[in-house]
Symmetry: D2
Subunit: 108 residues, 4 copies
């Protein structure tokens, strides 16, 4: 994730514009938060926002996440699956089933 073709397209886009110089990890982390809020803005007063705009804003968040993963040299599937294992341990299915209780408050 993403496919090699998507990854290549994003890298080429940045290289053609000479934008690597702006893509420090810190700037990318800010950018992810900024784009995430633009996605959230669609849900500010509505629960059924325009579908196309949702897809565009979600794409923006993902794009900056991929730029950051590139910059850090990490594989996206690997970090997702590695974090999933930790979350799985914190939220055992039998305790967490059907409720959103924070893991620190989950009791047998």
């Amino acid at each position: 994730m993403p496919t090699p073709a998507t990854l290549q397209a994003l890298r080429a886009f940045v290289a053609e514009r000479d934008w690597d110089q702006f893509h420090s990890p810190e700037n990318l982390a800010k950018s992810i938060s900024i784009e995430a809020a633009e996605l959230l803005e669609l849900y500010q007063w509505s629960q059924e926002p325009d579908r196309e705009r949702v897809e565009e804003e979600l794409a923006d968040v993902l794009t900056y996440c991929i730029h950051l993963a590139n910059r850090l040299g990490v594989d996206i599937d690997e970090i997702i699956l590695s974090k999933l294992e930790k979350t799985r341990a914190k939220y055992p299915a039998e305790l967490a089933k059907g409720r959103m209780t924070k893991y620190t408050d989950l009791q047998a």
Copy 2:
């Protein structure tokens, strides 16, 4: 993106916990913003935060993005590439090269 195996692992995780009921698009949009801020927090006072924590928080943002894409039934590569075409049109390489000027302020 992600690989079918990652996608399947995330779906199974949610299904085993009966959490689909909480994963409204609005709740997922909130979650993306919340996780994005946890990533940003690592850069709050530092430009070189702990690498493992960055990977974990980035994974959290991506995980909720994938949950939202699943919920909306959209293909992640497709929305990224579709948005990239629009961004490409707004930021022609010859005008945008080497500067982060907002497209509304880019002039030939």
Copy 3:
């Protein structure tokens, strides 16, 4: 806003810890977003979160806002009232009454 006593207490807190060096406008802007997301997190899966925690997280957002206003040397009441005038012009009461339509979409 805040009262001179609150303002003085916040300034003394920062001065005693020699933290002005960290309070660049950019770092404070990041901090406001981070604290805003901690407030939002209380509403991630619930619409009735713990009252005391809401007050604490709201206080954190306000505290960083005041630090930023201090740093910029601006008066909080002034900037709020100045912005309110602009918002008032964008959202005339007779057009905006009872609906959250973006001003660019408000039509007579």
Copy 4:
């Protein structure tokens, strides 16, 4: 904080537009995050953004914070000072002086 006049102006603005119905605590929490990200966006690629825009975005964050405080019926100075006491206890001046170490990592 704010002054009674500012508070009154904000309340009148909302009342004239019949917007109280939209100002649930959850919607206001989302709005605070959204406006905080608009402030952050000014610092996305720059450390010296346009001053007037910074003031406007900071005013927006503060405005929604005040709306939330109003909705919850809390006094802003009280919650700020109450939270400051807790932060003071977590970050004793002699340990925290000149460094931004998280309180859980501060050692005597």
